[in-house]
């Protein structure tokens, strides 16, 4: 936020883009198989099956409908 910056947008980027970031981060963590480090008693699969508090990008879900099919490389690994 700048000196004379209108407050209208100040840090709204962080607030709003945070939703997108969370969506990306969770996918990246899953792809890289980075194990959870919070809440050791939480079972990841059980936790992931529950709806998130903040529904991430509902409008994007249709666009990502086929993502599961495309996550694996279209060309065979060499």
């Amino acid at each position: 936020m700048g000196v004379d910056e209108p407050k209208r947008v100040a840090h709204q980027g962080g607030a709003t883009a945070g939703v997108i970031f969370k969506d990306i981060a969770e996918e990246v963590l899953r792809i890289l198989q980075i194990p959870p480090d919070l809440g050791p008693n939480l079972a990841p699969d059980k936790k992931r099956s529950s709806p998130p508090e903040t529904a991430p990008l509902p409008a994007s879900r249709s666009a990502y409908a086929n993502l599961g099919d495309r996550r694996e490389p279209a060309y065979a690994s060499r």
């Binding site: 840090h11 970031f21 890289l32 990841p44 996550r71």
Partner: protein, 573 residues
């Protein structure tokens, strides 16, 4: 004594014969010795023009072997009109359908053109290109059709006509080797991979059609990717040396996720551009780098394509994400403690003749809260403790103002002026990301340094070069640029930055359920509607996976979004 007339005649005749042999010997000497190179070149052009061998351009792959760019063999179909002459119609009607061309167009190209050479002798053109980028199987069909060409002419074996017909059927239509570049994953990683354009390489033995890297990895590693052409002729057979394969550090799966999300975000927020980069802090490996709008490397001239890789090629004021540099430097210098409280003057502080504002009015905040709540006033006071020289040193030490030396073209260094050029309030503006210009990659690497125990790494985009058999030729290693913070300072900063993605912080919606997240948000008014820099995950309770090797840092931004919500809480459009 007079010789008999018959003897004189014999003598003269003998001299004439002798002189003829001398003249013949001189002529042969001229041809064989004096003009040897000249005639050798002519012969080479006549016989070796069709035997230049194109080198296959190397592939570009992601870290797991997914092919992102490859080359497929194609042919350039050519003709020698001097061998066709009156049979143009027969040849054109035979090959035009196979090539997908109009007969009239082929006829026009086969039309012999007679010119005169340097010594005034007429000659017919011997080379014309009929069609480029023809698949190998089509060329096989053309060659077969020409070999079986029925001209309704019977020629006696060994006759001149027989020789001409054989030349027409076997040599009048010929093909040059070449390759066409293809991108199996379409736009994936386009700004990193770059693209090529077709080019012709003219050699002594003819022309070969190749692809030349214009930007991205295709351009930077052109020499390794291109290989070396070969040739066959004059009894020699030198095969082409294929180019090397380039294995990137990118992970196609991560790249795809990032590209799809930022494309969605750009559309959703009506932003001019969105870009992101994801880095492994411990090695500097780039796992994903994307800019939207993207481009199609197979059609780079598309006017709607985003030609600029904003991650390395654009400069922005980093806004509040830059606060980490000042707070970390002051912490490193022992000039503050994160739990120490500072007066934030209820969001309005007069310094240097101007008011500095905060997003919200805060009174006393700890420096940890200054980071979490992104207080400009608190950060500016940390900068005043450092002073201009030490602040400038910290900024340049983090790599700002210098190229990261990533293996990509058109990287920009950024702008940070020397303290002697600062105004009276620069010491309060630079720490909050104004009066300084950085690339997104520089911000990502600075954030990654926090996740790497304070060591700044050089961004690494290429993992290795391999030959066509997958044998290792060159392996690139991670390069530590320098230590910018002590390990304890880096750890302290990460702990503090975890609060940003919490209910108290500015990126509360980014809070993850199962992983800790350290980050910093920011907004810069002139060049951004907003930018966000959620940073690195740092697993704390997984001793078998050291945090440094199992985390990632990222940085992304939106430029000029029109769809941000207002403070009244309007949801994104």
């Amino acid at each position: 004594m007079n010789k008999p007339p018959a003897f004189r005649c014999t003598l003269v005749f003998g001299w004439l014969i002798g002189l003829s042999f001398v003249a013949l010997a001189l002529w042969l000497y001229r041809i064989q010795v004096v003009k040897h190179d000249h005639y050798r070149a002519i012969v080479n052009r006549m016989h070796d023009q069709r035997t230049v061998r194109a080198a296959r351009r190397g592939d570009i792959l992601d870290r797991r072997g997914v092919v992102l760019a490859t080359s497929l063999p194609v042919r350039t179909i050519c003709a020698d009109p001097s061998l066709i002459f009156t049979q143009r119609v027969a040849v054109a009607t035979t090959i035009a359908p196979l090539l997908g061309m109009e007969v009239a167009d082929v006829l026009e190209k086969l039309k012999p053109v007679v010119r005169t050479n340097a010594v005034g002798d007429p000659f017919t053109n011997q080379f014309v290109v009929l069609k480029r980028r023809v698949p190998q199987e089509v060329w096989t069909q053309v060659r077969s059709a020409m070999a079986n060409l029925d001209l309704g002419v019977k020629a006696r074996k060994g006759s001149g006509l027989s020789y001409a017909l054989t030349a027409l059927r076997t040599r009048a239509i010929f093909a040059q080797e070449g390759h066409v570049r293809q991108y199996p994953e379409q736009r994936l990683g386009a700004h990193v991979i770059g693209y090529t354009l077709p080019t012709e390489i003219n050699t002594e033995f003819g022309t070969v059609h190749a692809e030349h890297g214009v930007t991205g990895i295709e351009a930077v590693l052109e020499q390794a990717l291109a290989g070396a052409i070969g040739w066959k002729g004059d009894g020699a057979d030198l095969p082409a040396r294929p180019g090397l394969n380039v294995v990137l550090t990118l992970d196609a799966r991560v790249q795809r996720v990032v590209e799809e999300r930022i494309a969605w975000g750009r559309e959703h927020f009506d932003a001019a551009s969105v870009f992101a980069v994801i880095v492994r802090p411990a090695t500097g490996e780039i796992l994903a780098m994307a800019s939207a709008p993207s481009l199609d490397p197979a059609n780079p001239g598309d006017p709607d394509a985003g030609q600029v890789n904003h991650v390395v090629g654009s400069l922005f004021e980093p806004g509040s994400t830059f606060k980490i540099v000042t707070i970390a430097a002051a912490l490193e210098a022992g000039l503050l403690r994160l739990e120490e409280r500072v007066n934030c003057h209820n969001g309005r502080w007069f310094y240097g003749g101007r008011y500095l504002h905060d997003y919200k009015g805060y009174g006393l905040l700890s420096f940890e809260e200054v980071l979490v709540k992104s207080s400009n006033i608190g950060t500016a006071q940390a900068a005043l403790r450092l002073g201009p020289e030490r602040l400038y040193h910290a900024i340049t030490n983090f790599g700002f103002g210098s190229r990261t030396q990533i293996m990509l073209p058109s990287e920009r260094a950024g702008v940070i002026s020397h303290p002697r050029d600062w105004s009276g309030i620069s010491i309060t503006l630079i720490p909050i990301g104004h009066e300084v210009m950085t690339t997104p990659l520089q911000m990502a690497m600075a954030m990654a340094a926090l996740g790497n125990g304070g060591v700044l790494m050089r961004p690494m985009l290429v993992d290795r070069l391999e030959d066509q058999n997958g044998q290792l030729v060159v392996r690139y290693s991670p390069v530590a640029v320098r230590r910018v913070l002590s390990e304890s300072t880096a750890a302290t900063m990460l702990r503090a930055l975890r609060g940003v993605a919490s209910q108290e912080g500015t990126a509360r919606k980014a809070e993850l359920e199962l992983h800790s997240l350290a980050g910093k948000t920011g907004t810069s008014e002139k060049f951004f509607g907003a930018l966000t820099s959620p940073a690195s995950t740092t697993p704390r309770s997984t001793p078998s996976f050291p945090p440094k090797s199992r985390s990632f840092a990222s940085w992304w931004a939106w430029t000029n979004p029109n769809g941000w919500p207002t403070r009244a809480g309007r949801p994104p459009a």
